[in-house]
C-alpha cells in the first residue's frame, strides 16, 4: 500500500504517499506551513485556516486548508503567495485581540506576526471579546475526546459566544491527566485550571447542585469557564 502521488509544491516536484494531506506532504519535504489548530495525532479540524495554500487544478486556482486537503496526482501547490500571506496576516490580526487586551503577542504567534507583517493591535479596540487568551482552536477539546477518550472538556455556545468549558461530571479525572495543558498553544489552560485536586468540580457537586436547585441547568455555575 505504498502508492505514491507526484505533485508540484512551490515549483519543486515531490512525491508523497497516497492518503497524506498537503500539509503532511510539505512537512516530509521540509516545507514549512504555519498552523494553530493542527496536531499530528488528531483529525483535521479547520478552525484556524492559517495553513491555507493555493492549489491549481484544471487551470483554475483556489484556496484550501492544507491540513485536510488530500494530495492528488499533478496537483500544483503554492504555499506562499501575496494572497496567502495576506490571509495569514489578517488571521493573526483578527485573532490577536483574543489573546491579549492590547494585542501583545508572545511565542509562536509573535514570531508568525513578525514573519507576515501583522499589526497585532490593529483591531484591539474593535474586538468585544473578553481577552480570554483562548483562540478556540479546540486542541484541548479534541485531544481529550480523540486521544484520551474522556470528553471532559468541550465547547458551549454558538457563533461569537462560543466558549470552552469543563464538563463537571467528568472533570474529577482532570487533575491526574492534564494532557490538555501541553497541547494548549496559549498556555491558558494551565493558568486557569484549579490548582488543587479538590477544587475540580465533581460529579457529586453536580448532583448535589441539581437536587438543591431543581433542574435549572442553565444556572449550573460549576461549568467552569476555561
Amino acid at each position: 500500500m505504498t502508492n505514491s502521488v507526484n505533485l508540484i509544491m512551490d515549483g519543486r516536484e515531490i512525491s508523497a504517499r497516497q492518503g497524506l494531506t498537503i500539509l503532511e506532504a510539505a512537512q516530509e519535504v521540509g516545507i514549512e506551513i504555519p498552523t494553530l489548530c493542527y496536531h499530528k495525532d488528531l483529525n483535521p479540524f479547520g478552525a484556524c485556516n492559517l495553513c491555507s495554500v493555493e492549489i491549481q487544478q484544471n487551470g483554475s486556482s483556489r484556496i484550501v486548508a492544507s491540513c485536510a486537503y488530500p494530495v492528488e496526482p499533478g496537483l500544483r501547490v503554492k504555499t506562499r503567495s501575496p494572497k496567502i500571506d495576506k490571509i495569514r496576516r489578517m488571521l493573526i490580526e483578527v485573532v490577536a485581540p483574543r489573546v491579549s487586551q492590547g494585542g501583545t503577542l508572545r511565542g509562536r504567534l509573535r514570531r508568525l506576526a513578525d514573519e507576515y507583517g501583522a499589526n497585532s493591535s490593529r483591531f484591539a479596540s474593535k474586538s468585544t471579546a473578553e481577552p480570554l487568551e483562548c483562540i478556540l482552536c479546540g486542541l484541548c477539546v479534541r485531544y481529550c475526546a480523540e486521544v484520551k477518550k474522556m470528553n471532559a472538556i468541550g465547547f458551549v455556545g454558538r457563533g461569537i459566544d462560543r466558549q470552552v468549558v469543563l464538563y463537571p461530571a467528568k472533570a474529577q479525572q482532570c487533575y491526574q491527566c492534564k494532557a490538555c495543558y501541553k497541547v494548549c498553544p496559549t498556555g491558558k489552560i494551565a493558568v486557569s485550571m484549579p490548582k488543587v485536586a479538590g477544587d475540580f468540580p465533581s460529579e457529586f457537586c453536580v448532583d448535589a447542585y441539581l437536587s438543591t436547585h431543581g433542574t435549572k441547568l442553565h444556572k449550573l455555575s460549576s461549568l467552569e469557564q476555561i
Binding site: I63, V94, G138, G159, I160
Partner: protein, 636 residues
C-alpha cells in the same frame, strides 16, 4: 383500512375510483380554505370553525364540503378561501364574514364584492384567484397544487395524479432516471445550485452501504419560508421525489430533517409518511416493484448553520451542528461515514415533475444555465407579500412590480436583498437582472434559498448590512477564526459607523475582513456572510462615507445620527399625541403653543413622528444637516 397498492395498475384504479366518487359529489359546493402558517397567524382556525358552525346551523352539511389546504402563497391577503364551482376567491376574511358568505354565496349564489381582492395599485377587483396580478405572472408548477390538496389526505394527492411519477420511475432502471435528471439540468435549490443529477450519480457510484438520502428542511433565513410551505402544504410531493431519488441512488433509508420550529410541517409530514406506508407507497415492496424504502423524520434543534449539509450530518449523529471541511464529499463520506445525498425540499419537489413530464419539458422553462422555476419569498416594502413561483430568467423588476405590486405609499424601490444573509443587495438600477444562478452571482448576490426582501428609499443600507451581520454572529457555529472573529470585528465596525463614531479606516478594514472571510472561512455560511456588506459597499459606498465623514444617515434611520424637531408651522398646538406618547418626556410645551423637543432628553425612538405622521406630519427628522431656525426653540 386500505389495502396496499401492489402495482401501477392498482394505483391507476385507485385514482380513477377517487375521481369517480368525487364526480358524483359534484352537486356539492367545495370550499378550499388556506390553513398555512401565515393564514393561521391571521386567524384562519377561528374562521374555519365559524364556517363549519354556520354550515351546520343552516343545515347545509350535505351540500358543502370544506377542505383545509396548505399555503396558497398570497399571505398578504390571508385568511382566504376559494368557493367552487365558480372559483370565487375571498380574502382577508374575518369570523363575522362567515354568516354573510353562507347566506349570500353558498345559499344565494351571489358574490360579495367587498370580500374580493382589490388591487391597491389601480383599484380593480378580481373574482378568480388566477386573474389577480399576483398569481397571473407566476408559473406555479410546484406550488400550484398546494391550494387543491389537503396535506393530511393522501387521496387528494393521488387524485391529481400523485405517485404516478414513482410508478413510471419503477419501469426504468436507476441509470435512466439519473440520466433524465441530468438532462433536465435541475440545479440544487438550497443555494449553491449544484447539478442534482451529478450529485446523485456520485452517491450511487460511491463505495459503502447503507447509503442515505436526506431532505433538507432546515430553513432559517430571515423572511424565508419556501421549504416550510411545501413541507406543510404538499408533503407527498417531496416524499415521492425522495423515493424516486432513493431508487435511483440505490438506498433503502431516507431521512427528512425538519426544524422543530415548524410544528405544522412536522405533523403534516408525519401524517403523510403514515398514509404513504398504509397505501404501500413506502415500506417493503413499494408498488410491487420489489424496492424497499423507509423514511424517518429527524427534528432539528433550530440552528441556521445546521442547514449546511456537513453540519446537518453532524447534527444527525448527535454531535453539535458544525460544518467540516468537505474536501471529501458527503457523497463519499456522509452520515455515519456512508455515502449520503442531501437535497433541499424544493429540489426534491421538482423530481416527480421531471420524471412525469420529461426532462425536455422541464428544461424548456428557464434560461440557458438555470432551468425550471424558483420559489421566492417576497417580503419587505412591497404591496403583495407572499410566496411566488416564477420561471427562471424573469427580471427582478417584473417580479417586484407586476407580481409584488410595487412599493406601498408610492415610494421607490431602493434595492432588493436576494438570497438571505448569504445573498447580496441589488440596487434599483440593476433590477433588470434576470433570476438566474449565474446572473445573480455576477451581481454579487446569490440565489440562496430564495429570500427576496424589497427595500424602499427609507431604508439605510448600513443598518441593513448590520442586521445580517448580527444575524450571522448569532447563527454561525463559531468554529473557524475567520468566520467568528471576522464577524465579531465587522459587527463592531458597523455599529460604530451607524453610531457616527467610525474612523476613516473603517471601510478599508471592513473590506479586508470581508476578503478574509471569503477566502479563509471553513464553510459557505461565513464565506458568504459578508456579501450584504460587500454589495452594499459596492453600490452605496457614498452612504457609508456619509455616515463616517459627515455623521449623516441619508435615509434618516440610524438613531444616533438623527434628530427630531417639531415644525411650528405644521403643529396643530391643540393635539398632544406626541407629548402623551413620548416615553422619555422629551416633548415639551404649553397649551395653544407649538410643542418642541428637548434634544437632551430625546432617545430617538421615533414614536412622536409615527403618531403625528397620520395627521399633521409636523415632526421632522434631520441628519447631519443645518436645522432651519424656525425648528429651534430659541425665538419662539
Amino acid at each position: 383500512m386500505v389495502s396496499k397498492l401492489r402495482s401501477k395498475h392498482a394505483l391507476d384504479e385507485l385514482c380513477k375510483t377517487i375521481l369517480e366518487e368525487r364526480a358524483k359529489d359534484n352537486a356539492k359546493l367545495l370550499v378550499t380554505v388556506c390553513n398555512g402558517t401565515g393564514c393561521r397567524a391571521g386567524g384562519s382556525a377561528a374562521v374555519i370553525e365559524e364556517l363549519k358552525h354556520e354550515i351546520v346551523s343552516q343545515g347545509l352539511t350535505d351540500k358543502v364540503n370544506i377542505r383545509t389546504t396548505g399555503c396558497h402563497g398570497f399571505c398578504e391577503a390571508g385568511p382566504m378561501f376559494i368557493v367552487q364551482p365558480g372559483d370565487i376567491f375571498y380574502q382577508r376574511l374575518k369570523v363575522e364574514n362567515m354568516a354573510d358568505i353562507v347566506r349570500e354565496t353558498i345559499i344565494g349564489g351571489n358574490i360579495i364584492d367587498n370580500l374580493l381582492y382589490t388591487n391597491p395599485v389601480d383599484g380593480a377587483t378580481y373574482i378568480h384567484q388566477s386573474d389577480i396580478p399576483f398569481y397571473r405572472g407566476q408559473q406555479r408548477i410546484i406550488l400550484g397544487s398546494n391550494s387543491r390538496i389537503d396535506p393530511c389526505n393522501i387521496e387528494d394527492y393521488i387524485a391529481l395524479g400523485g405517485y404516478s411519477a414513482l410508478a413510471k420511475a419503477f419501469e426504468q432502471d436507476s441509470g435512466q432516471i439519473i440520466e433524465e435528471i441530468k438532462e433536465s439540468e435541475l440545479r440544487g435549490r438550497g443555494g449553491a445550485g449544484f447539478p442534482t443529477g451529478v450529485k446523485w450519480e456520485a452517491t450511487r457510484k460511491a463505495y459503502g452501504e447503507p447509503k442515505y438520502v436526506i431532505v433538507n428542511c432546515d430553513e432559517g433565513d430571515p423572511g424565508a419560508f419556501m421549504d416550510r410551505t411545501l413541507m406543510e402544504g404538499n408533503p407527498h410531493l417531496i416524499i415521492e421525489g425522495l423515493i424516486i431519488g432513493a431508487y435511483a441512488i440505490g438506498t433503502n433509508e431516507g431521512i427528512i430533517y425538519v426544524r422543530a420550529e415548524y410544528p405544522l410541517a412536522l405533523s403534516n409530514t408525519e401524517v403523510a409518511l403514515r398514509q404513504a406506508e398504509a397505501y404501500g407507497l413506502l415500506g417493503n415492496d413499494i408498488l410491487g416493484s420489489g424496492f424497499n424504502f423507509h423514511v424517518r423524520i429527524h427534528r432539528g434543534a433550530g440552528a441556521f448553520v445546521s442547514g449546511e449539509s456537513s453540519a446537518m450530518v453532524s447534527a444527525m449523529q448527535g454531535e453539535p451542528g458544525e460544518p467540516r471541511l468537505k474536501y471529501v464529499h458527503l457523497a463519499e463520506f456522509g452520515l455515519k461515514g456512508r455515502p449520503t445525498n442531501i437535497n433541499n425540499v424544493e429540489t426534491w419537489a421538482n423530481v416527480p415533475l421531471i420524471i412525469d413530464k420529461g426532462a425536455s419539458w422541464f428544461n424548456s422553462i428557464g434560461t440557458e444555465r438555470s432551468k425550471g422555476t424558483k420559489i421566492f419569498c417576497l417580503t419587505g416594502c412591497v404591496n403583495n407579500t407572499g410566496l411566488v413561483e416564477v420561471p427562471m430568467g424573469m427580471p427582478l423588476r417584473d417580479l417586484i412590480q407586476d407580481i409584488g405590486g410595487g412599493v406601498p405609499n408610492n415610494k421607490k424601490v431602493k434595492a432588493v436583498q436576494v438570497g438571505g444573509p448569504s445573498g447580496g443587495l441589488i440596487p434599483e438600477q440593476h433590477l433588470h437582472t434576470a433570476i438566474d444562478f449565474d446572473e445573480l452571482s455576477k451581481m454579487g448576490a446569490m440565489m440562496g434559498s430564495g429570500g427576496l426582501i424589497v427595500m424602499d428609499e427609507d431604508t439605510c443600507v448600513v443598518d441593513m448590512a448590520k442586521f445580517f451581520v448580527d444575524f450571522c454572529c448569532e447563527e454561525s457555529c463559531g468554529k473557524c477564526i475567520a468566520g467568528r472573529e471576522g464577524l465579531r470585528i465587522m459587527r463592531e465596525y458597523l455599529n460604530e459607523i451607524c453610531a457616527g463614531e467610525a474612523g476613516a479606516d473603517a471601510i478599508e478594514a471592513i473590506e479586508d475582513i470581508a476578503e478574509l472571510m471569503r477566502d479563509a472561512s471553513l464553510c459557505a455560511l461565513c464565506r458568504t456572510a459578508a456579501n450584504p456588506v460587500i454589495t452594499s459597499l459596492r453600490y452605496f459606498r457614498e452612504e457609508y462615507e456619509d455616515h463616517i465623514g459627515q455623521k449623516r444617515c441619508p435615509a434618516k434611520v440610524c438613531p444616533s445620527l438623527v434628530n427630531y424637531y417639531v415644525d411650528p408651522l405644521k403643529c396643530n398646538s391643540m393635539c398632544d399625541l406626541c407629548l402623551s406618547n413620548c416615553p422619555s418626556k422629551a416633548v415639551q410645551g404649553r397649551k395653544f403653543k407649538p410643542l418642541w423637543i428637548d434634544q437632551e432628553k430625546c432617545i430617538k425612538c421615533g414614536i412622536c413622528s409615527d403618531v403625528c405622521s397620520h395627521r399633521y406630519k409636523a415632526v421632522s427628522k434631520f441628519s447631519g444637516e443645518q436645522v432651519p431656525s424656525r425648528f429651534l426653540r430659541k425665538g419662539r
